[in-house]
Subunit: 334 residues, 2 copies
DNA sequence: ACCGATCATCGAAGCGCTTCGACAGAGACG
DNA sequence: CGTCTCTGTCGAAGCGCTTCGATGATCGGT
C-alpha cells in the first residue's frame, strides 16, 4: 500500500514555480518557457505525479470520461458488440478519455444520472432501435451523444453505422454476377425484427430492392439460432424452392448451423448452393468452407463514433448521419 | 440542451437549510429530523438535483467508480466475458457504483493511471494469467482489487473463480457413471495453454486426476477453433483410439464444430459417443443434441467479485480465494 | 531613452461537495 | 434549579485543480 497521492502543489514546490504554472505546463494552454517546462516535467516524473481526476473534473467542468451504453439483450451477437466496445475504448484513450460502461437495462435513468452528475462528458449508444425510448432523452441532454445505429427519427442526432442496405445489395449483386437466379436471405431471429432493430430491417430492404433491380427471385426469412430450427428452416426452404442456388446469411450465431444443415442435407457449398454471410471476418474464415462475406467493420464504426463525439465535445459541427461502406471479400463459398 | 446543473446550495436555499444539512440528509451520516429530511428530499426532487460526481469524489476521496479490466485477446470466448462484464456492472450499481472499462492492452499503465488519478476506488481484473505482469503492480497499489482467475502467486490477493478443476472432475465422473471407459478432453486452443491461462490448465488437471482416480483411460488435447482443424483433430482421435466413447469439450467456440465433425464422421451423439461440454447454458441448449454441460456461472462470479471488492472498500477482511462450485446439467448428449 | 506589445509567470478565486467542530435547545437527573 | 447529555443543525475549512486578471521582464520600433 502506498502513501497519499502527490498533488500539484507538491510538484510546484519541487520545481520552484507556482501551481498555476504547473497546470499550464500540463495543459499547454499558455506559453511556458522551455526551461520551466523541462523543470516542471522533471518534477512530475520524479514525484510520480498524476492529476486527481475528481479535482480536474470539478475545476474544468470536464471529466474526460465518455459513457458507452451497451445493449445486453438476446439476439445480439456478442462478439461483434465486444469489438465495438474495444474499439471505442481504444479510440477514446487516444483522445485522453476513459470509458464508463453503462448497460441498457438501467434504461434512461442511467443515462440521465451519468450525464446530470457530470460523470461523463458525452455518450455513445450502441444498438439503437427504430423506436428507442432513450432517443428523446438524448435530444434533451446537455451532453453530446453519438448513436451506433439509426432510430426512426434521427433528426438532430449524430448516427454512425454500417450501410446495411448496401450490404444486402452487395450480396445480391455478387450472387447475380455468379449467375444465381433464385436466392434467399436468412436474417436475424424474428424477435429482432419485431423489436424494430434497424440493421436487420435495413439489410432486408437492401436485399429486396436489389433482388427487384437485378430481376432475381428471392425471399427473406428470419432465422432462429439453434441448430434444429435452422435445420428445419433450411429443409423447408429447399423443399419449397428447388431452384434455389444462393443464400445470404445475416446472422452470426446461426451461420455455422446453416453450413451444418446444408452438409446434413447433402448440399455441397458452393457447388450446389452458394453462401454469402454478413459477419465478422474471423467467423467467415473459421467456417468450412471459408465464407464469402461482407464484413461488419466494427472497429471502424467504434472509431468513427468516438471521433464524432470528440468533435462535438470541441463544439464543432458534425454530419448527422455517417454510413460506412461495406466491403465484400470473396472466399470459397461462392 | 438544458441549462446549468442544480447544485447542493440551491437545494439548501430552496429547503431553507444549510448546505451541510442537505449533504447529511443525502448521505445519512448524521441524524436528521424526519421533518427536515422530508423538506430536503422534496426540494431535491423538485429541482432535479444530482450531486456532481467530481466534487463528491474530490471532497470524499471516493469516486464511487470501480475499474473493470477486460482482456481482449484471441482465444477468449467473448460471450462469456460479456456475461461477466454485465454482471459486474449490474452488481456494482446495486452498491451505487459505476464501472470504468479498461482494456488489458493498455497494460499496467492503464491500471496505474486509473488508480493514481483516483478515477476509481478499486479494480476487478478478468482473465488473469498464471504469470501476470499486472499482479505485482496490484499488490503495490493503494486501491483494493479482486481478480477473476488465479495467478500462480496469489498471496495477498483476492481471487474468485469457478472451480475449474472440479468442473473437469465432474465431467469425468459423469462419463464414468454412464459406463464410459475411454475418454478424451478437448480443451482450449494451444496458444491459451502456452500463455499459462489458469482456467484451461486447471480443467485439464482436474480431468487428469479424475481419470486416474476412476481408473479410466483418457487423453487431453488442445483444440483449435476452425471447423477444418476440429474435424481433423476429431478424425485423428477416433482413428487413434477406436474404443473412445466419451468426450469432454472445454471450448465454447469449438463445441458446435465438434458436433458437426462427429455428425460428418457418422458418429451419433450420444449413442456412439457421449459429449459433455463446459460452457454457458445457452450454447448447450442450442446445440443438436442439447449438450450435457457444466455451467460457467458467469453471473455469480461477477457478483462475487464486486461483493468482495465492496467489502474491501469498506475496510473489511475478505477470504483470499473463493472457488465457486460448478453444476452439471444432464441433457441429451450423454 | 521611452512606449506599447509580447511573453512568462504568479496569486487568488472559485468549482460543488464532505466533514469537523461548535452550538443552541430539549430532556434527564440529582 | 443548575448541570450534563443528547439531538439536530449550522458555518467554515478544505479536497486538488483550472483559469482569470495582474504583474514584471524583455524587446523592437522610433
Amino acid at each position: 500500500m502506498s502513501e497519499r497521492a502527490v498533488t500539484i502543489s507538491e510538484v510546484a514546490r519541487h520545481a520552484g514555480v507556482a501551481v498555476s504554472t504547473v497546470s499550464y505546463v500540463l495543459s499547454g494552454k499558455r506559453a511556458i518557457s522551455a526551461d520551466t517546462r523541462r523543470r516542471v516535467l522533471d518534477s512530475v516524473r520524479t514525484l510520480g505525479y498524476h492529476p486527481n481526476a475528481g479535482a480536474r473534473a470539478l475545476a474544468s467542468r470536464r471529466s474526460n470520461v465518455i459513457a458507452l451504453v451497451l445493449p445486453l439483450r438476446v439476439g445480439m451477437h456478442v462478439p461483434v458488440l465486444m469489438q465495438f466496445a474495444t474499439s471505442v475504448v481504444t479510440e477514446a484513450r487516444r483522445y485522453d478519455h476513459d470509458v464508463l460502461l453503462l448497460t441498457a437495462d438501467e434504461g434512461s435513468d442511467g443515462l440521465r444520472r451519468a450525464a446530470a452528475s457530470a460523470l461523463v462528458d458525452g455518450l455513445v449508444l450502441m444498438d439503437v432501435e427504430l423506436h428507442d425510448s432513450r432517443v428523446p432523452l438524448l435530444k434533451d441532454l446537455a451532453e453530446p451523444s453519438v448513436l451506433i445505429g439509426f432510430p426512426a427519427d434521427s433528426a438532430g442526432l449524430t448516427c454512425v453505422d454500417l450501410d446495411f442496405a448496401r450490404a444486402g445489395t452487395l450480396c445480391v449483386e455478387h450472387l447475380a454476377e455468379r449467375g444465381h437466379r433464385e436466392i434467399a436471405l436468412l436474417g436475424a431471429p424474428s424477435v429482432v425484427y419485431e423489436r424494430g432493430t434497424g440493421f436487420a430491417r435495413r439489410t432486408r430492404e437492401g436485399f429486396a430492392v436489389a433482388v427487384a433491380e437485378t430481376g432475381l427471385t428471392g425471399v427473406a426469412l428470419p432465422c432462429e439460432e439453434d441448430f434444429d430450427r435452422v435445420c428445419a428452416a433450411i429443409g423447408d426452404l429447399l423443399d419449397a424452392r428447388p431452384g434455389l442456388s444462393g443464400l445470404v446469411v445475416h446472422n452470426e450465431a446461426a451461420v455455422n448451423h446453416v453450413l451444418g444443415a446444408l452438409r446434413q442435407s447433402g448440399r455441397r457449398v458452393p457447388d450446389d448452393i452458394a453462401v454469402v454471410a454478413i459477419c465478422p471476418d474471423d467467423i467467415a474464415e473459421r467456417s468450412s468452407p471459408p465464407l464469402t462475406s461482407v464484413l461488419i467493420p466494427a472497429e471502424e464504426v467504434g472509431h468513427q463514433a468516438v471521433r464524432l463525439l470528440m468533435e462535438k465535445l470541441e463544439g464543432r459541427a458534425v454530419p448527422d448521419g455517417t454510413l460506412l461502406q461495406p466491403r465484400l471479400t470473396v472466399r470459397a463459398s461462392t
